[in-house]
């Protein structure tokens, strides 16, 4: 009885390992020289996704500061 592998494992352990690693290396790694990283990828921009994650992190910090010092922030 063959148990189908989970899709992720199947892809990684199949012939496409290097394609997925290629995508990861080129789009997720590497020196970011400028803010101008622009790509077209079926309407989804992976690099901007990373940028927006960074913005989310800031958002999580800032409200905390504001909660702790509401008087000073309101001016």
């Amino acid at each position: 009885v063959s148990v189908p592998a989970e899709p992720g494992i199947e892809i990684f352990e199949g012939g496409d390992t290097s394609l997925l690693d290629l995508v990861d290396n080129l789009l997720n790694q590497g020196v970011v020289l400028t803010g101008d990283v622009v790509l077209g990828l079926a309407g989804v921009d992976l690099v901007y996704l990373r940028l927006s994650l960074l913005l989310c992190a800031s958002d999580r910090i800032l409200p905390r500061r504001e909660r702790e010092a509401p008087e000073e922030e309101a001016s």
Partner: protein
């Protein structure tokens, strides 16, 4: 574009590149050729654009010593990518450490951030491999996943000459580690995951 001791390989683009497989493979092939020809190469993020040579020279020149340092780090090295699949181990004892009752909210916040950072950048699932790998590695970077069967990825930077021993160490595992973990590795790659220069990273 030359800027001091650094040489940037650039091409003119009329429009933003599409991130499709043939273009990514072509880009990787160019990076590999450059890596073979030069002693040390720092790949830029795919799709990085500058307005012109002057802007690029300015960007490089403003951080020339950092680039030199980063280039030295990857000189003569290749990257191997090791992915670990399975069910993640319970978080290390980091989470169960008692909090200092005297700590203020700021300290508690920073301590929580530190624990979270340590959790995201550690991969205890491959600890049994470390004695074999440690002498071969020049650097390691870990990216842990928060969901799915892929637990995390270890990017390993090693001297080109150590690649064979690295492969042998992984092949000796048969792709499995104690704890039911499965391994998949690829490489050698140009040092994409180690192309980091202080102040120019978006990823933590």
């Amino acid at each position: 574009v030359r800027c001091g001791g650094i040489l940037a390989a650039v091409g003119e683009m009329a429009a933003a590149p599409r991130a499709d497989a043939p273009l990514l493979q072509a880009h990787d092939a160019v990076v590999r050729r450059l890596t073979a020809g030069a002693g040390a190469v720092l790949p830029a993020r795919f799709g990085s654009l500058a307005a012109g040579e002057a802007e690029l020279a300015e960007l490089l020149g403003s951080r020339a010593p950092l680039f030199a340092e980063a280039l030295e780090r990857v000189r003569g090295c290749v990257q191997m990518t090791l992915r670990v699949f399975g069910t993640a181990a319970a978080p290390a004892d980091l989470d169960s450490l008692p909090e200092d009752p005297m700590a203020g909210p700021g300290t508690r916040f920073l301590a929580a951030r530190r624990r979270e950072h340590e959790r995201r950048t550690s991969l205890p699932e491959i600890d049994s491999l470390r004695p074999a790998l440690r002498p071969l590695l020049r650097a390691e970077r870990v990216e842990r996943q928060t969901s799915g069967r892929l637990i995390g990825t270890a990017f390993h930077l090693l001297p080109r000459a150590a690649e064979e021993d690295y492969r042998a160490a992984l092949e000796a595992t048969g792709g499995h580690l104690p704890g039911g973990y499965r391994l998949a590795w690829s490489g050698p790659w140009p040092p994409y995951a180690f192309a980091t220069v202080a102040g120019m990273e978006l990823a933590p």
